[in-house]
């Protein structure tokens, strides 16, 4: 198999069609990059959200999930004494907000059942 173009200049020029071909491939690259970057950023956001959620529920001594062993082992690692007061207060606020959002979700689910 041989290359069709003799040199780089003719590859770029493409007999006058270079502008069209290269801009089409450029757009293709853009869409490909979007399709890779967008799910990775989505993943980062969701994972850190869930991590925060799990940690704050652990520091309050209860767990959003069903896994009691996990929350007990983590909170017994000395969470209570090491944290400063302000830090703890902030965590509580976040946890309360999350509790609210969970309540809203539960309400939504009930509405769905009625319908």
């Amino acid at each position: 198999m041989t290359m069709y173009f003799e040199n780089l200049a003719s590859l770029i020029h493409m007999g006058g069609h270079g502008v069209y071909v290269w801009s089409a491939y450029g757009m293709g690259l853009l869409i490909i990059v979007y399709n890779i970057v967008s799910p990775l950023r989505f993943r980062e956001r969701i994972v850190s959200q869930i991590q925060r959620q799990v940690r704050s529920s652990q520091s309050r001594g209860w767990n959003l999930g069903v896994d009691k062993s996990l929350s007990l082992s983590k909170s017994s690692n000395g969470n209570k004494n090491q944290r400063s007061g302000a830090d703890r207060e902030q965590k509580l606020t976040i946890a309360r907000q999350q509790e609210d959002s969970v309540n809203i979700k539960a309400q939504g689910a009930r509405e769905g059942e009625v319908e």
Binding site: M14, G16, V21, G28, I36, S38, R43, L70
Partner: protein
């Protein structure tokens, strides 16, 4: 018949675990095929005797246009499964397909316009193929918007499934538009029932690019689906374990 595989397939946890194993391999094969197909098409394939070098756009245009329709059909199947069996994973797939399909549909329209300028002398004409493809883009955007407008997961799943199923009427219109109406758009390059009209040195890179784009779609769909699973199952034990394990690494 043994239906356990069907139930397993519907289990988000099972899918999350198995897809994590496949993903790197699929990604490597997709990247290799993509590089092979596109470089072959750009540099090694001979020019077209009529269109010259502008036809090289085909190696992006045809795979993405194929995919844009195929993804929509897939979403319609997912919609049926959502409505009939209420399978959670099917609705997640429907949701995750939409932005990917929309982006490919947009790319097919843009590359088509760029190809149209040197070939037809115009960026755009309101002919059957182009218009029906634009409607497909609007359908994708409609599904995405509808999802965003509803807070309740169950209701939005049902509504999106119905909208997708209504829109599927557009797919045969896209497919047969070049036969039913007089259009500027050329007829199908590849047909399942006939021998290809293309020379093999152009056909091979095209087939490789099509395979590459399908695999690429599979990879990015799995990427999105895995996050969607974590999001919706965020109150389960296994998701907590998974995200905490990531943190410690």
């Amino acid at each position: 018949m043994n239906w356990t595989f069907f139930h397993k397939l519907g289990s988000p946890k099972w899918f999350y675990e198995i897809s994590g194993k496949w993903l790197p391999w699929l990604a490597i094969v997709a990247a290799l095929l993509m590089a092979t197909g596109l470089i072959w098409g750009l540099v090694f394939a001979p020019p077209d005797y009529l269109q010259g070098n502008s036809y090289r756009i085909i190696f992006i245009h045809v795979p993405t246009a194929f995919l844009a329709s195929a993804i929509y059909v897939m979403m319609a199947f997912a919609g049926i499964v959502t409505l009939v069996w209420k399978m959670k994973l099917a609705d997640m797939a429907l949701k995750c397909c939409a932005p990917i399909g929309a982006s490919f549909c947009l790319l097919a329209l843009i590359t088509g316009a760029i190809w149209g300028k040197p070939t037809w002398g115009t960026w755009w004409v309101w002919d059957a193929r182009l218009t029906s493809m634009l409607i497909l883009l609007f359908l994708y955007m409609g599904v995405i918007a509808l999802r965003g407008a509803m807070r309740n997961t169950n209701t939005s799943a049902k509504a999106c499934a119905i909208l997708t199923l209504v829109g599927v009427i557009n797919i045969p219109i896209i497919k047969f538009s070049v036969q039913w109406w007089n259009t500027l758009h050329q007829g199908a390059t590849l047909k399942l029932t006939e021998k290809p009209s293309m020379a093999p040195e152009m056909l091979w890179p095209l087939l490789i690019s099509i395979a590459a784009f399908y695999l690429f779609f599979t990879v990015v769909l799995i990427l999105r689906l895995r996050t969607e699973i974590l999001d919706r199952e965020r109150r389960t034990k296994w998701v907590h374990k998974t995200v905490l394990a990531r943190q410690e690494n």
